[in-house]
Symmetry: C2
Subunit: 294 residues, 2 copies
């Protein structure tokens, strides 16, 4: 990883996590519900979404304060989706990031409700960002609702489930991922642009970057399922092959998937060239996404 990005991540993850945990710790709610919510929030992860919100604000020399809260909101949505995704009635996973999944520890009922509560609170924490003009908060809430809901992440999960029953073609697979993982990544980057007050043309270029980064992220995920170890991944490797799931390597071969990954990486970098300020942080982020091994 490039030094500047490494430093950025090391500096900001502690503040993102402190913000996120405090937002949950301070609410008045039954202790075991909060414990279950915090268990999954604290289970680690790369914090890519909140880091993207912060990175865009940093690129425009804006204060990162509000980005930590918006980043927390999107990480809460991401986390609730993992809790529900791991439930026995969905993917039935017992291991996530190397730790027992939420329902294994707290039971299915509490896990379902902890996910629901994380989904709900995400919108509240943005609404309570009192230093940001109400119009911007409304724009962020609208973007997050679309990105996280039936038109975005949840819709993508539905398409993904359908894709477990039959082999999708490349276009269908892309639609799955543009929604399932892409929508929240796009929100992360676009919300940074909203907070930073980026121009409309910069915002479009950032959305284009986000589109390709989202696909690159997913292709690398598929590749890691084949090439990574369970230890590296913190989840069972090789699961896609066992479940005969539609993936990029399954459709394109492993080599083809790697070449597709590189294609999206190049297009992401090209999108950044349309922006007139120093975009090296996001360039490095793109490299990190395609080279990561977990």
């Amino acid at each position: 990883m490039e030094n500047a990005l490494k430093q950025f991540i090391e500096q900001n993850i502690p503040q993102i996590e402190a913000t996120m945990y405090e937002l949950v710790e301070k609410i008045q709610a039954p202790a075991h519900l909060k414990e279950s919510m915090l268990y999954s929030l604290k289970a680690g992860g790369k914090r890519i979404r909140p880091l993207f919100v912060a990175a865009v604000c940093e690129m425009y020399n804006q204060s990162l304060e509000a980005s930590y809260t918006v980043g927390s909101a999107v990480e809460m949505i991401h986390t609730y989706s993992l809790i529900h995704d791991d439930l026995p009635c969905m993917d039935d996973d017992e291991l996530r990031r190397g730790k027992p999944t939420n329902h294994v520890v707290y039971g299915e009922a509490l896990a379902t409700l902890a996910g629901d509560a994380l989904n709900t609170i995400a919108f509240g924490v943005i609404a309570r960002l009192n230093n940001i003009p109400a119009e911007k908060r409304i724009e962020l809430i609208n973007l997050l609702s679309v990105a996280a809901g039936a038109e975005g992440m949840v819709g993508g999960q539905i398409l993904d489930m359908d894709g477990e029953k039959r082999l999708l073609n490349l276009q269908e697979l892309e639609t799955v991922h543009v929604n399932k993982t892409g929508a929240l990544l796009r929100f992360s980057i676009e919300s940074g642009a909203v907070l930073a007050g980026a121009s409309e043309s910069d915002r479009q270029a950032l959305v284009e970057y986000a589109h390709h980064i989202g696909l690159a992220f997913q292709i690398q995920d598929d590749i890691l399922d084949i090439e990574g170890t369970s230890e590296q991944l913190g989840k069972t490797a090789g699961k896609d092959i066992v479940s005969e799931k539609s993936t990029y390597p399954a459709l394109l071969t492993l080599e083809g998937a790697k070449s597709k990954l590189n294609e999206h990486y190049e297009l992401a970098i090209e999108a950044l060239r349309k922006i007139d300020i120093d975009t090296s942080l996001l360039q490095q982020f793109a490299q990190y996404i395609v080279r990561r091994n977990n």
Copy 2:
């Protein structure tokens, strides 16, 4: 039911429902996801929450247009909570409002995701209320997030689950219901006050009314579980007794519960006396809540 209230309900339910269905029908999402969301939204119900939003606006002579959207949002939250509540890992109910529950028709995975999508879209539909000032929309979203989440409805569901394991005392039972059903009813009435621009003192009186109406609503629910038939209720009657659940009749006897119901009804009416405009619609609503047989 008093004629004025009857007319109000008959006039407004079709518009509330049309608004709510259109908000879901117009989104771009997988067909079976939308179908599952609409199945539960269309399964009926008394629409008490959206009717309360509209009734408060009506009382202040405001246009009801925005109230239909805010009412749809709270009904979506209420509906998602029923879908998740009925899941096998929660209450495991196969019948709701006389129809098979969502997971019986669509499977558990889709039911879980349809619930998630309804939760998420509720915040978006308020955010997109372009004729309402952004500050008011933010206030509504903040209130809804608190009412629906760990500090409100979801927190109440957790306490309710705990109450299935041991007999609660009266204060604990009240805390369950103030959160589980009370928080969304309070939101419905308070959001009407926000939309109508009610004075701070009127708003406080309405919140007090909402508090007692919420408890009265729940006590009547407990009474109906004993005195009602499954046919009237559209769900299995007598379930509380079989499951040895903490209820008002279990703690206070049936007579004691009825007297408690009347106490909260009187306090709700008393709260309305603090308001200087004609509150007969909400008075009639209170009667309807305590006299309903389903």
